[in-house]
């Protein structure tokens, strides 16, 4: 069972509580030490990939945004329905294209940011060029040997630009047509559903 422990400012040598520590000001403990379970959960969340994050955000958006549009009192009922249908369509289209695009971009960047000199030495000149196409040359490659985090940040920066360039194309080529198709599909479905009870009630 994960636990959250609250630590006191304890002097390890004497075992006495250090009441003069700022963290113990006014008798109120201002620090929190998380338990093993919570720590593991937090660290796993931090290790989630960008596509997984995109999927999560898409799922939360789909459960919240169309509801807000459907209950928009400032417009008539038909506009509420079309707006909610369009929002749902846009979220689905954005997630369907966004998740694989991010995954592909990350893969491409990973392939192009090899900093392992042993591996690079086994490759031909042209293969080496491809494998290091996203590695900056204004720092020695050894710099990244013990600085995984720095390389990760650099990959993120490159990734966000590559994703933006790809989006320039996919927004118009994929997102808009898929959104249009799904919007019309949802609106037709809703209209048919509303007409059916009227038809059943006929003589």
């Amino acid at each position: 069972m994960p636990w959250v422990g609250i630590t006191m400012s304890i002097n390890l040598d004497t075992g006495k509580i250090n009441k003069s520590a700022p963290s113990f000001k006014g008798g109120v403990q201002k620090t929190l030490t998380v338990g093993k379970g919570l720590q593991t959960a937090v660290e796993k969340a931090g290790g989630l990939s960008t596509p997984a994050n995109r999927l999560f955000l898409g799922a939360t958006a789909l459960s919240i945004q169309p509801e807000i549009d459907l209950h928009n009192k400032d417009v008539d009922k038909d506009t509420q329905k079309v707006s909610a249908a369009r929002t749902a369509a846009k979220i689905i289209a954005g997630t369907l294209t966004g998740v694989p695009i991010r995954a592909l971009c990350i893969k491409a960047i990973d392939l192009g940011t090899c900093t392992d000199e042993k591996e690079l030495s086994k490759l031909s000149e042209s293969a080496r060029k491809w494998k290091t196409m996203f590695v900056p040359t204004n720092v020695p490659i050894e710099r990244f040997k013990n600085a995984e985090r720095l390389l990760k940040k650099h990959k993120q920066a490159i990734g966000s630009i590559v994703a933006l360039l790809v989006m320039l194309f996919t927004n118009f080529a994929l997102d808009v047509p898929i959104t249009k198709f799904l919007t019309n599909f949802f609106v037709d479905k809703v209209n048919k559903k509303e007409q059916q009870p009227e038809m059943k009630g006929g003589n």
Partner: protein, 224 residues
């Protein structure tokens, strides 16, 4: 040695200016992404023949407002929530047992709630370990990145899924009402342009009306 290609120069530039400040990069690319996406979607609505014009008057402003509100709420809400989460860890207020151990070992515990205290900076500046403790660095940043991720996700959900839809709907509804009212006024103006304007001499005054009516023979109360 040949001069670096344009691609290599770009990669070097990105590393130099953004690897150390990824937040700025994500803000710019996020903002551009939202603007492009909104323009594309607004274009899609414009050319969708199945959507009536009155609804387009709502959907197009809604789409444009979506980008603007998303950018603003990202800056105000998402970044702030992320910053709060990161500060909780970097100041030592929220920590794992290993981080707490490190703080106590190097007698940094009294500094934990003081202004400007940052665990990563303290550990590097004071050179508390002859070789900076890589195991601790790994453990610290693993937790730090996790809290930062959760905080930014919570901030994104609040700003993109709650604040943005509410505000963009308000703006779009306001623009729709304005456009419909403008159309109505224009329609009325066009209609009145075709009404025949009666010349003044065809109207009879009040007194003349009585005189005329008095001369009309009465048919009694019978009406067919």
């Amino acid at each position: 040695m040949s001069a670096p290609s344009f691609m290599q120069k770009t990669v070097n530039y990105i590393y130099k200016h953004f690897a150390g400040n990824i937040g700025k990069m994500l803000l710019w690319t996020g903002a551009l992404g939202w603007i492009l996406s909104s323009l594309a979607q607004a274009t899609g609505v414009m050319f969708n023949k199945k959507i009536p014009n009155d609804q387009k008057k709502f959907l197009i402003p809604q789409e444009l407002a979506d980008a603007a509100v998303n950018i603003l709420s990202f800056i105000i809400v998402t970044k702030s929530v992320t910053k709060i989460g990161e500060n909780l860890v970097s100041s030592g207020k929220l920590a794992t047992p290993k981080i707490r151990e490190f703080l106590t070992k190097y007698k940094l515990d009294p500094k934990v709630c003081t202004k400007g205290f940052n665990i990563a900076k303290e550990a590097q500046l004071n050179e508390l370990d002859p070789k900076f403790d890589k195991e601790f660095q790994k453990a610290y940043y693993k937790f730090f990145d996790g809290v930062s991720f959760i905080a930014s996700t919570v901030g994104s959900v609040i700003s993109c899924n709650i604040i943005t839809p509410i505000l963009r709907n308000k703006f779009a509804a306001y623009r729709q009402k304005q456009d419909i009212a403008k159309d109505k006024i224009q329609k009325d103006d066009n209609m009145s342009a075709y009404e025949p304007i009666l010349p003044a001499q065809n109207t009879i005054g009040k007194d003349n009306y009585r005189t005329v009516i008095a001369k009309v023979p009465s048919n009694g109360s019978m009406r067919v």
